[in-house]
Each structure stands twice: as structure tokens, then as C-alpha cells.
């Protein structure tokens, strides 16, 4: 039933996507009816795919194992939360998620632009729906990825979700990355629309900027969650490994970062149009590439790549996107050429351009390293891979330069900055940076790692510059409107969300990079094998293995250790790292030895602190337990075989099993008895581990400042949220906005921006006078053309 309704809904969704694209193209010459119809079809598509998702989720919640997807990725035992999240742990479910998020984002984008961008929207709709048709079509015709495939007869239980993935951040992380990838479709689609219609001013950017920002934030959150999961769950103590799949998510994020900056230059100055078009095409292609990489076996990765049939199709889509967009950009080169030039290297747009180049270079390095196995195979016939040190060699200096320019950019005004203004703006940040450099050199051994030292100094420079921005903004606001400094700060931030939200993001990223630099350069990492009662000294801390712990249930053995940590001048603390060995799920009653055939997961013992983290993981020596488990299994087989001289409890079980063989209704009782007996044996094994007092290997990591990485990430996300949040004004602005009207608004905003910069002391009087005159004459031009247009129209009315 579910499968039938779902299959029909999915087929309808595919047809609706195709229809919406066709209807939009029919209405391309401004036929409102067809445009409205296509927009409503997109809403309809959203409803249909939502229905599919709801059906799948209901099937998961209700343990409907007649659906293949549920049987493969869930079981009766799976906790409810993970049942709901299990959908996207499957190939077909993740494609459905892609389509779902795309339908939501497309609906939102078309709703937001329903009264704007008349010429452009039909083409953007066609692109978005083309992509939607691709993904829904893939599920229908791709072979083996139909989410509504059924099993007949329905099995009694499912295979379950691998325990390694049963971690909250692992469940949120994939949809975050997906939402990021998918939201990038929107600016891409509008860029294509702008190219086709030659409406290449900044209007398409204004309409979709927020989507690009949302995509950026989602990707960033996805990356952060993945890193956190790796740090706390994988038992190796790192958060980044330059694994191909990690890189696949990082590359579009870097490219989107570049895009978010360079579109500002196009908005303010009408420059970099070709560059922006190329960036968004590149970003979207990288997002598709990320989707492709996890579904193909082309690169070695710690991530399992499903043998999947959909890989080539996605590769085909990437090829179409790249070739089509390139051809379109080349054919529009004349329209894309901008009239203006960068006035001065000492201007915000020049620094943005430099930062853009750095980001793209970073992306290029990562791309090369990620795909090097394929490249080397092409040239030498050997698949060779590059390891983390190679990546670090390039990414470290590039990241450090980025921080430096991130510090410079916000301090400079648009267009040009005179020498006298520059001196005034840079004095405090430079002084603070110098003081920090001196303090680090004298009081710490940060100089041992010159790269990290440089990064700390540049970050101090950037953070001081940002603080100065907030301070001056608040002061300027206060001199205009009065009130307290705090109120002025809130007012200036909420009136210029995009600017100050961006500053907060910068601060967050600077803090995050400080955390990365400190923890990667000054980490102490030790492996110690200890017996209970023994201790080891790690970086000034005395770590004693007090005693082993163990617990066992039907699902898993959990071995642990109680570690006592003593450090001079600190309260002693206790850490309890554990390691769990899971029985394979979904196989019914297994042997005792099967406890050690399934997955194992680490639960690290972590004492997080603002100064440093103490991170511990344990690898218990379970060889003797495994040996005893095998012996116990042999004994168990002998016992149920009815061998003489076995304990009474065992004879009872074996009698019940023989009875169950004759009378199937007794089966559950027999099973319960076996489970109880096995439980008792497992308990005994567990106790024997405690009595052994055998050695365990501990990994102990002292990670300085690593907490700031997570804090920085959260600050950056908060900043992004501030920048995304729409100002109240546009939220109650339902009226139709003409394009020249929007352009005028943007110019007025620019004039207000310059006034704020002047009041904040960023622009000297002469600079401001010059800039203000320029901006006003540009605004007048717009007004003139508006009036001209009205006069031309007048006779028709």
C-alpha cells in the first residue's frame, strides 16, 4: 500500500518537475499565466515529494519491513530517533532527501521572487526543475535506487543501523551537508537565468544572495559536525584527515565563501561579473561532485562507497552543467564586461579580489590532491595517493594569508583609501598584533612553529580590527542617535546585519583557525600500555589506570577504564574512556563469540577546557576474553547436544530445545532460555576480564586550545544567522518592486554605508566628499533613467 502510493507520488513528482520546466519556458516572454502555473507546479512538486518522505518515515517508524529501504537500514531494536534518521543512511533515501530539499528551496526562491525578475525567473525555474527532474528520474529509472522497492514476503526484522553511526551528530550531519549542496542550486539557477536573458546587473544576486549564505552556513555546520563526530567518536583523536569525502564537502564551501565576497563587489561596483558567473558554476559543479564522490568507487576513502549505478548519471549531469554554463558565459562575454576598474589596490574590492584568489587557490590545491590518484594513474599507470603532510604544506600558508587579508579587508572602505585614513585605521590593530607577537615570543614557545606563530599574530590583528569596527560603528551611531553605547551597538548591528553579521563570521573563523593551529602544532600525543595500578606521565599530568570496568547486555560488551589524572595545582579528575563491542544485528541468536564479530565503537574520556583538552581512548586487550568466549561456545554446543555431566540449568535448556523442535509454539520459550543462559555466560566472561587485570593500551592527547575551534565555529554560524535574518522592512513589503526601484534602493544603501564609514572615522573627510559625490551622481543617473522610462511609457497609459 505504502509502496504503491509512494511510487505513484514519485512518478507524479517527476512529471510535475518536467511540466514546471516546460511551462516556465513557454512563459519566458512574459506570459504571466504560464509563469504562475509553473510556479504553482513547483509548489505541487514540493507537496508530492513531502508526501514521499512522510510515507518513508511512517514506514520506518512502524517497522514496515516489506519496504526494502526499511529492512536494510532499520530494525525493531533500533531506537526511535535513529529510525527517523535512518532514511538518509541509504542511497535511495539520500537521493529522496536531495530532491526534497531542492523542492523546498525552489519553492521558497520562487515565492520570494514572485513579483520580481520577470524575465529571469522562467529560465531559473527551468534550471531548478531540470535538476529536480534529474534526481526524481534517477530514483525512478536509475536502477536499484527506488525508495519504494518492496520485499516479498516481508521479513520479520531488519538488518539495523550500524552502531558506529548511532550518534546524534552523525544523524544531523548528512542532511546539513545535503541542504548546503542543494541550496547552491538556487543561485546557480538564477545566474543561468541572468546569463540567458542578459540581465547581468546585480538583481539576480540580490534575489539569491540569502540562499548562497544559507547554503554556506549549512555546509559549514555539516563540516563542523563531521569533525566533532570524528573527534569524540572515532577513537583516533583527530578531526580532519584530508579524506576525499571530507575534501568534497570542503571545496564547495571554500568556493561559496569566495562567491559570497565577490558578489559584494558586483553589487557595489558592477565589477567581476565573469568571475562571479564562473564561481557559482564552479561551486555548483563541486557540490554535484561531492554528491557523486560518495556514490562512486573512484577514490580510496575511509568512507564506504556503495557500489552504485547512479555515479555515471551524476557525472553526466556535471558534464552538462560545466559545458552548458561555459558555453553560455563565453557567448555573453561582451555583456559581462564591466565598465569600471578597480581604482586602487588599497580598497576593499581589491582585497576581496586577493582573498578570492587565495580561496580559489586553496580549492585548486585540495582538488589536485584529492584527485591525484586518478591523475597519477593517467600519467604513470600507478595509483598514487597524497597524504596529509602534502596537503598541509600548501593549505597552511594559504590559510595564514587568508587570515591576514581577512583582517585587512573589513578595515578598508570601498573604492579607495587615502594614506592618512589608512594610518588612522591600522594603528591600533598593528600595535596589538605587535604586542601579541612579542608576548608570544617571550612567554610561550609558540615560535617553535613559525606557521602557527604567524597565524596567531595575524588572527590577533584581524580580531582587533573587527573589534575596532564594532566600537567605531557604535560610537558613530551614538553620536547620531544618542543613548548608551550598548544600545548603540545593538542598533548599529541590527541596522546593518549583513555587514556586522559578516564581521562576526570573520571573528569566528579567526578563532576557529587559532584552535586548529594550536591543536595541530602543539599537541602531545602518546600511546601508553598500562596495567591496572600503573601510571604514566604525559605533558605534566600523572595519569593512573585505576581499574578496569566492564558491562554486558544482549547487544554489546563494554570494556572501560577508570583513569585518575593528577596535575600540580589542579583538582584531580577522573576520566572513563570505554570501548564497546557490538554483536552483529539482525542475525537472530548468535554465539557468545559473535559479540566480537560486529562493530566496535569508542567512547572517549574527555576533559574539555578552554586552555586545553585532555583526550583519552582505551583499547582493552580482549584476547583472553575472546579465547574464553570460544571455549564457552564449545561448551554450550556440548551442553545443548545433551552430553552427560553438564550443569542442570544447561540440561533444562537442551530439553526445552528438543521439545521446541517438535512443537514450534515452544520456540519463544526456548529462545528466551538460551538468551538467559548466554547472558549468564557473558556475565561470567565479563567478570573474568576484571579478574585478569590485563594490560590496556591508552591513547592520551593533550590538545591545547582545541575547544576554541568549536567555539569559533559556533560564533561564525551565529554571525551567518545574523546576516541571513531578513530585516523587518522587507518582511512586510508585499508590493511589486521594479528593478530600477531596487537599484535605486541599493544605491541609497551605499550612500548610507559611506556616511556610516565617515562617521566611524574610516573615511577621511576628503575621501568621503569624493565618494559621496560619485555615489550621488550615480543615484541621479538611476533617477534620470527612471523618469525617462516613465515619460516613454506615459503616452501608452
Amino acid at each position: 500500500m505504502t509502496a504503491d502510493v509512494g511510487s505513484v507520488a514519485l512518478a507524479l513528482a517527476f512529471l510535475t518537475a518536467v511540466f514546471a520546466a516546460v511551462a516556465a519556458l513557454i512563459g519566458r516572454n512574459g506570459d504571466r499565466r504560464w509563469i504562475d502555473i509553473s510556479r504553482r507546479a513547483v509548489y505541487g512538486l514540493c507537496a508530492l515529494i513531502t508526501l514521499c518522505v512522510v510515507l518513508i518515515e511512517v514506514a520506518f517508524a512502524g517497522d514496515d519491513f516489506s519496504l526494502n529501504i526499511v529492512q536494510q537500514h532499520s530494525s525493531i531494536e533500533t531506537p526511535a530517533f535513529y529510525k527517523l534518521a535512518a532514511m538518509w543512511s541509504s542511497q535511495e533515501g539520500s537521493l529522496l532527501l536531495w530532491a526534497w530539499v531542492l523542492s523546498i528551496a525552489s519553492s521558497a526562491a520562487l515565492y520570494a521572487t514572485r513579483n520580481r525578475l520577470r524575465e529571469l525567473v522562467p529560465y531559473a525555474t527551468a534550471v531548478m526543475m531540470g535538476v529536480a527532474a534529474f534526481f526524481t528520474g534517477l530514483m525512478l529509472f536509475g536502477g536499484g535506487v527506488d525508495p519504494f522497492a518492496t520485499l516479498s514476503p516481508a521479513p520479520a526484522d531488519g538488518i539495523g543501523l550500524t552502531p558506529l553511526l548511532q550518534h546524534p551528530s552523525m544523524m544531523i550531519h548528512p542532511p546539513m551537508l545535503y541542504s548546503g549542496y542543494v541550496a547552491l542550486t538556487i543561485p546557480f539557477a538564477f545566474a543561468i537565468g541572468a546569463l540567458v536573458t542578459r540581465k547581468l546587473d546585480a538583481e539576480w544576486i540580490r534575489a539569491t544572495r540569502r540562499f548562497a549564505l544559507i547554503a554556506w552556513a549549512f555546509l559549514g555546520l555539516g563540516l563542523l559536525l563531521g569533525a566533532r563526530w570524528s573527534y569524540t567518536e572515532l577513537g583516533w583523536g583527530g578531526y580532519w584527515a584530508w579524506d576525499p569525502v571530507e575534501n568534497a564537502a570542503l571545496m564547495p564551501w571554500l568556493m561559496a565563501t569566495a562567491f559570497l565576497h565577490s558578489i559584494m563587489v558586483q553589487e557595489k561596483r558592477g565589477m567581476l561579473k565573469v568571475w562571479n558567473a564562473c564561481l557559482i558554476v564552479g561551486t555548483f559543479s563541486l557540490a554535484l561532485l561531492g554528491t557523486f564522490l560518495v556514490r562512486s568507487g573512484v577514490l580510496q576513502s575511509i568512507h564506504a562507497f556503495g557500489d552504485s549505478t547512479v555515479g555515471p548519471y551524476i557525472l553526466g549531469l556535471i558534464a552538462v552543467v560545466l559545458i552548458g554554463s561555459t558555453a553560455l558565459i563565453v557567448s555573453r562575454l561582451d555583456d559581462l564586461r564591466s565598465q569600471k576598474r578597480i581604482d586602487s589596490l588599497a580598497s576593499r574590492e581589491a582585497v576581496f579580489l586577493v582573498n578570492n584568489l587565495l580561496l580559489v587557490a586553496l580549492c585548486a590545491v585540495i582538488f589536485w590532491g584529492t584527485f591525484f590518484p586518478l591523475i597519477s594513474e593517467l600519467f604513470t599507470g600507478q595509483k598514487s595517493s597524497l597524504a596529509a603532510p602534502w596537503f598541509d604544506r600548501y593549505t597552511t600558508p594559504l590559510a595564514i594569508l587568508l587570515v591576514l587579508f581577512t583582517g585587512i579587508g573589513p578595515l578598508l572602505a570601498w573604492r579607495r583609501v587615502s594614506w592618512s585614513s589608512a594610518r588612522r585605521i591600522f594603528r591600533v590593530p598593528l600595535l596589538v598584533a605587535a604586542a601579541v607577537a612579542l608576548a608570544l615570543a617571550v612567554f610561550t614557545d609558540a615560535l617553535q612553529s613559525p606557521w602557527a606563530f604567524a597565524l596567531f599574530v595575524f588572527a590577533a590583528f584581524a580580531l582587533t580590527g573587527l573589534t575596532q569596527e564594532f566600537w567605531q560603528g557604535a560610537r558613530a551611531r551614538r553620536s547620531l542617535a544618542g543613548g548608551s553605547t550598548a544600545a548603540a551597538l545593538v542598533a548599529v548591528v541590527s541596522r546593518n546585519r549583513r555587514r556586522y553579521g559578516g564581521y562576526i563570521v570573520h571573528a569566528g573563523v579567526a578563532v576557529l583557525l587559532i584552535g586548529i593551529a594550536a591543536s595541530s602544532s602543539f599537541q602531545t600525543n602518546r600511546d601508553e600500555t598500562l596495567r591496572p595500578g600503573e601510571s604514566a606521565k604525559v605533558d605534566g599530568r600523572l595519569i593512573s589506570y585505576e581499574r578496569p570496568t566492564v558491562s554486558v547486555d544482549e547487544k554489546a560488551f563494554t570494556f572501560g577504564a577508570v583513569l585518575r589524572v593528577k596535575q600540580d595545582g589542579r583538582e584531580p579528575l577522573t576520566l572513563r574512556p570505554t570501548r564497546r563491542f557490538f554483536r552483529p544485528t539482525g542475525t537472530g541468536i548468535g554465539t557468545i563469540g559473535s559479540y566480537f564479530d560486529g562493530e566496535a565503537t569508542s567512547e572517549v574520556g574527555l576533559k574539555a577546557g578552554l586552555g586545553s583538552d585532555l583526550w583519552t581512548a582505551v583499547q582493552p586487550d580482549i584476547s583472553s576474553v575472546q579465547r574464553r568466549a570460544r571455549a564457552a561456545d564449545r561448551g554450550f554446543r556440548r551442553c545443548v547436544g545433551g552430553a552427560p555431566g553438564v550443569p542442570a540449568e544447561c540440561q533444562a535448556v537442551s530439553r526445552m530445545m528438543r521439545a521446541a523442535a517438535v512443537n514450534p509454539s515452544l520456540r519463544p520459550i526456548a529462545l528466551a532460555q538460551i538468551t538467559t543462559l548466554q547472558g549468564a555466560i557473558a556475565e561470567r566472561l565479563a567478570r573474568s576480564y576484571l579478574d585478569d587485570r590485563g594490560p590496556a593500551t591508552f591513547r592520551v592527547i593533550v590538545d591545547p586550545l582545541v575547544t576554541w575551534m568549536w567555539i569559533g565555529g559556533l560564533i561564525a554560524l551565529a554571525g551567518a544567522l545574523i546576516a541571513i535574518w531578513p530585516p523587518r522592512r522587507t518582511r512586510r513589503q508585499p508590493v511589486l518592486v521594479g528593478e530600477s526601484e531596487a537599484r535605486k534602493e541599493a544605491k541609497y544603501r551605499e550612500i548610507r554605508d559611506a556616511e556610516l564609514d565617515h562617521a566611524a572615522g574610516k573615511l577621511s573627510d576628503e575621501d568621503f566628499a569624493l565618494l559621496d559625490a560619485e555615489l550621488r551622481s550615480e543615484a541621479l543617473e538611476i533617477l534620470d533613467s527612471q523618469n525617462g522610462a516613465k515619460r516613454e511609457k506615459a503616452p501608452q497609459v
Binding site: 543512511s89 542511497q91 563531521g226 561531492g290 580510496q300 568512507h303 591525484f372 602534502w390 600500555t529 591513547r699
Partner: protein
């Protein structure tokens, strides 16, 4: 200097930097990379060269002693002979018999000696969604 000329110079500088970076990338990547080989190719490998071994851990071959792990690795398709391996250092959670691994190391007297902390185990799940790090 007229602005036209200035821009040309800037362009040339930017392009040369890009070319230099690209050349450095190409050069260092070929010298820094390690070849990936499967155990059957390593049986006759030259000693003293570092390789990335990719293959499947033979089920039931994993032994632990105080030095670390000893196990055997066969080709991914399970065919061909298997190669004895020693390894010390951290063992990723998903490691066990039957799993695909990647390990960096050298062949010494017919035994593949893994470098500490280079053992990578592929996630076992059917988790084909974007599942990074």
C-alpha cells in the same frame, strides 16, 4: 605609468604566481605521493620503498601481541596470496577481519611493516549518504 600598463603588469604577476603554484603542485605531488598496491603486487616488491597497501584483512588472521597487531591481508577481490603484516599504533574502530584497509609501510623480508598510525579502515556501513570525516 599609465593605468593600462599597470594593469597588464599586475595580470602578468598574478599569472606567473599561478603558474609557479601549479608547477610546485605538480612537482611535489609526484615526489610526495606513495604508490598504492595490492598485496599480490607487493609479494615481489623492492625493499626500502614505501607503499600504500590496499586490501582485505583475512578473517581470523588478526593476532594481538605486546608489539601490536599481526594479521594477513589479501587482495580486495580475495584472490591471490595473502601478505603477513605487522602494525603498531592506533587501530580504528571499524578494523577487523574481512574489512578493507589502507596501510602505509614497507616490505621487509616478506613481511609488510606498517608505519604507526597510518592504518585506515573503510567504514563498513551501507551508509552511502554524504558521510564525511
Amino acid at each position: 605609468m599609465d593605468p593600462q600598463r599597470k594593469r597588464k603588469i599586475r595580470l602578468v604577476v598574478a599569472l606567473s604566481v599561478a603558474v609557479l603554484l601549479a608547477a610546485a603542485l605538480v612537482y611535489t605531488s609526484f615526489s610526495a605521493s606513495t604508490e598504492a598496491k595490492e598485496p599480490s603486487q607487493l609479494l615481489s616488491a623492492a625493499p626500502g620503498t614505501t607503499y600504500d597497501m590496499t586490501g582485505k584483512v583475512v578473517k581470523g588472521s588478526v593476532r594481538r601481541d605486546d608489539g601490536g597487531l599481526r594479521f594477513r591481508v589479501s587482495d580486495r577481490d580475495g584472490r591471490g596470496g595473502s601478505l603477513p603484516v605487522t602494525y603498531s599504533g592506533t587501530v580504528p574502530d571499524p578494523f577487523r577481519g574481512g574489512r578493507e584497509i589502507v596501510l602505509t609501510g614497507q616490505v621487509e623480508r616478506g613481511v609488510f611493516v606498517g608505519e604507526p598510525d597510518t592504518l585506515v579502515t573503510k567504514c563498513p556501513s551501507k551508509f552511502t549518504a554524504a558521510n564525511d570525516s
